[in-house]
Amino acid sequence: MVISTAPSSQSTPASLPPSVFTLPQTAQLEALFTIIRDKETNRGDFLFYSDRIIRLLVEEGLNHLPVIPKTVTTPTGATYEGVGFEGKICGVSILRAGEAMEVGLREVCRSVRIGKILIQRDEETAQAKLFYAKLPQDIAQRYVLLLDPMLATGGSAIKAVEVLKEHGVPEDRIIFINLIASPEGLKNFCGKYPQTRVITGWIDEGLNEKAYIIPGLGDFGERRYCV
């Protein structure tokens, strides 16, 4: 039994686009992914462990928001030069798998507003197609955390950012959060929107012919809600 604290399966591409940030690749994180990737994992565990990863992702994503200096007085009367949270934020989930990440977001930001976008692949053209979008009215003034657990080809994420831009959100105020990304998806997405930051938990090997991430974890929404 070899005990280690370094991950064994990371295959990060040699050059990541500068706007991509991964969580610290620890054995602990890898163990979490191992559980949710395992097809034998039951739904309860899948929910619990994917929530833990999502929480870490959201914590990481929030670090990309600006803060302003703030001085406070502590209960002992000392002063402390700290920082205050500044920009207003909102979450936007790409239905339906993205919805699963809302809980994690709310655990960290209690009263955050959440918009929803429904994008599905048009079976005839294989293009991502917008079906529905409901976004907070003042979204143009907010930083947007875009939630979608799997970045495969990047089609729906690209479409979602397009929708957000139409609503007046500048590209650099969008932070795209996902659990697992494929190198192809990252390349497509960042090629299109170089100023949008991407926070991902793990970068996998690639895509199969059905555009599923390899080794991936299957269909996130399916496993979260149905299986």
Binding site: S8, T34, E40, R55, V67, V72, P75, T76, V83, V108
Partner: protein
């Protein structure tokens, strides 16, 4: 807190019974400890609970005669062995000594009766027919007796057997004992075994006339156990008397002191004075103060990577983390926000702490039938132990990371006058109580701050006493005071990992300015939100000195 509650695995572990200083423990004679079964046992329980139970008049300093500031053991518990004939008054003497000691913190009276051997079916038949010689040395499991006593003497936990007199058998459960500074062993053969004799610091033989012992025995057995006079006499002549002559009486030559079985007030006074002096010689250590004053004082987040503190990990000081700390430190933060953000911080800390557990490779198949070579946790038992009350908020974070984690707790409070921490209560998960499991367990020790480090020092010491290896202890805390006890902790326990949210520069002694009940300095009432500040004069009038971490976040508790 009756004895019957203490015997099960799941029940309260050590029964630290509270006896007000100077209170009289019950003096009535009880012959059978831990006999918690069968009809009529209930009423006897309260009388019997005092044996094989850690008694205390107040908290216990864990290094009580035992640890210096490097965490090394400097002495063992004081062990008194009391032998004498059946019904000679051994228990009476033991209890009078406890009583005469007054406010000595923690005493356990260990009874030989607990160590009767497990009987074979044949022996069992004899026992029920009153044909088994319980007074013979062979009836006692001396090696086990000696090893349990050696553990207790060295300050380790011990799980002593429980013997049921109604079933005439050793029960499967054991009784967990830990933390006595004085151990009194009593039994007719307490001085018989050489291995046991070696462990005593003071050997007492209670000398009593045979006719008096017989009279007491008849009176007790008839009244308390419903036996006939004939039956008692037969047993006496067949077993008790020969055993006394052959095995008990001869051991009086090993005794340091022979105490009369009645009218022994003076003898007991002498013994108590002797013990008290022995104990006091060692207990002049003011730990909190020495911890706060030690070492250079410039431990800033910048030089944490230096080789002196390889096991202190500070979270990455991200904008979010700084923001969270700003909210927590702000005295105007509402209670609701305070709770929310401590939760958020503690979950994050717990996630980070998980990184220090060992992992092994594991291959799984994903739903799209691909093999993934990943990792899985490789530990037998993981548990959390929180230092009450301020460790409480971190418990919730830990539960968000390991839902079903076992949680234990330690209540450590400062003594008002000296500010010295005392262990008032401990409740540890079974994976620590059993020494064999403790050796392989990983423990997250939770406390909101490390100021002087005294409470942390004590808590780590308690875990080590139980056999948890240093490298398996991960101390999770929000704030560490740079100039405080963290240095001492690292020196005393170099392999214990400490993970903290941030480092604060200042640790200073001040008057308690919070409207709280006496509680450990750096651990009290933060989630009052905005503590009601007292005026300095009021606080000084109360005369409570505390160590304050600055800028800090006030008192944190639940």
């Amino acid at each position: 807190m009756s004895d019957s509650l203490g015997t099960g695995e799941q029940s309260a572990p050590a029964e630290l019974l509270e006896i007000p200083a100077g209170a009289r423990p019950p003096l009535s004679r009880t012959a059978t400890p831990s006999n918690t079964f069968g009809p009529g046992a209930r009423s006897e329980i309260l009388l019997q609970a005092k044996k094989n139970t850690v008694l205390k008049s107040h908290g216990r300093p864990p290094w009580f005669t035992r640890y210096d500031e490097d965490g090394h053991s400097v002495g063992d518990a004081f062990v008194i062995g009391i032998a004498g004939g059946s019904a000679s008054g051994k228990t009476h003497v033991a209890r009078r000594i406890v009583q005469a000691l007054g406010s000595i913190p923690t005493v356990v009276i260990l009874s030989q009766d607990s160590f009767y051997k497990r009987h074979s079916p044949e022996d069992l038949e004899l026992a029920f027919a009153n044909r088994y010689d319980f007074d013979h040395p062979d009836a006692i499991d001396m090696p086990l007796f000696a090893s349990c006593l050696a553990d207790l003497k060295a300050g380790r936990q011990s799980n002593i057997p429980i013997y049921s007199f109604t079933q005439h058998q050793r029960l499967d459960e054991t009784k967990y004992l830990y933390g006595a500074a004085i151990i009194i062993v009593e039994g007719i053969l307490a001085l018989h075994d050489p291995a046991l004799r070696k462990l005593y610091d003071l050997k007492i033989f209670v000398q009593c006339d045979s006719d008096l012992m017989l009279a007491r025995r008849i009176s007790r057995d008839v009244k308390e156990r419903g036996r006939s006079v004939d039956g008692v006499l037969e047993q006496y002549l067949r077993y008790v008397k020969p055993a006394y002559d052959n095995f008990v009486q001869p051991t009086s030559r090993f005794a340091n002191i022979i105490v009369p079985g009645s009218d022994n007030t003076v003898a007991i006074e002498l013994i108590a004075t002797h013990v008290r002096r022995k104990i006091e010689d060692h207990s002049r250590l003011y730990l909190r103060k020495s911890l706060a004053r030690i070492g250079p004082r410039d431990l800033s987040p910048g030089d944490l990577k230096d080789q002196h503190f390889p096991n202190l990990t500070v979270l990455r000081q991200t904008p979010q983390l700084q923001g969270i700390f700003t909210i927590l430190r702000d005295r105007t933060t509402t209670r609701e926000d305070f709770i929310f953000f401590t939760d958020r911080l503690s979950t994050y800390l717990s996630e980070k702490a998980m990184e220090f557990l060992p992992y092994v490779t594991k291959e799984v198949t994903t739903p799209i039938s691909k093999i993934y070579a990943g990792k899985q946790l490789a530990v037998n038992d993981v548990c959390g132990v929180s230092i009450l009350r301020s460790g409480g908020p971190l418990e919730r974070g830990l539960r968000r990371v390991i839902q079903d984690i076992r949680m234990g707790s330690l209540l450590i409070q400062s003594e008002d006058k000296t500010g010295e921490p005392l262990l008032l209560h401990l409740m540890l998960p079974c994976c620590i109580r059993q020494r064999s499991l403790a050796k392989k367990s990983f423990v997250f020790l939770l406390d909101a701050q490390i100021g002087t480090g005294a409470a942390a020092f004590m808590a780590i010491r308690v875990l080590l006493d139980h056999g948890v290896p240093q490298e398996n202890i991960i101390f999770v805390t929000m704030i560490v005071a740079a100039c405080g006890g963290v240095r001492v902790l690292q020196r005393a326990f170099p392999k214990v990992r400490i993970i903290c949210g941030t480092i604060d520069p200042v640790l200073r002694e001040s008057w308690a300015l919070w409207d709280t009940l006496p509680s450990p300095p750096e651990t009290a009432d933060g989630e009052l939100g905005t503590p009601t500040a007292k005026t300095k004069a009021e606080a000084e009038a109360e005369g409570r000195r505390v160590w304050v971490v600055e800028p800090g976040m006030g008192h944190i508790g639940t």
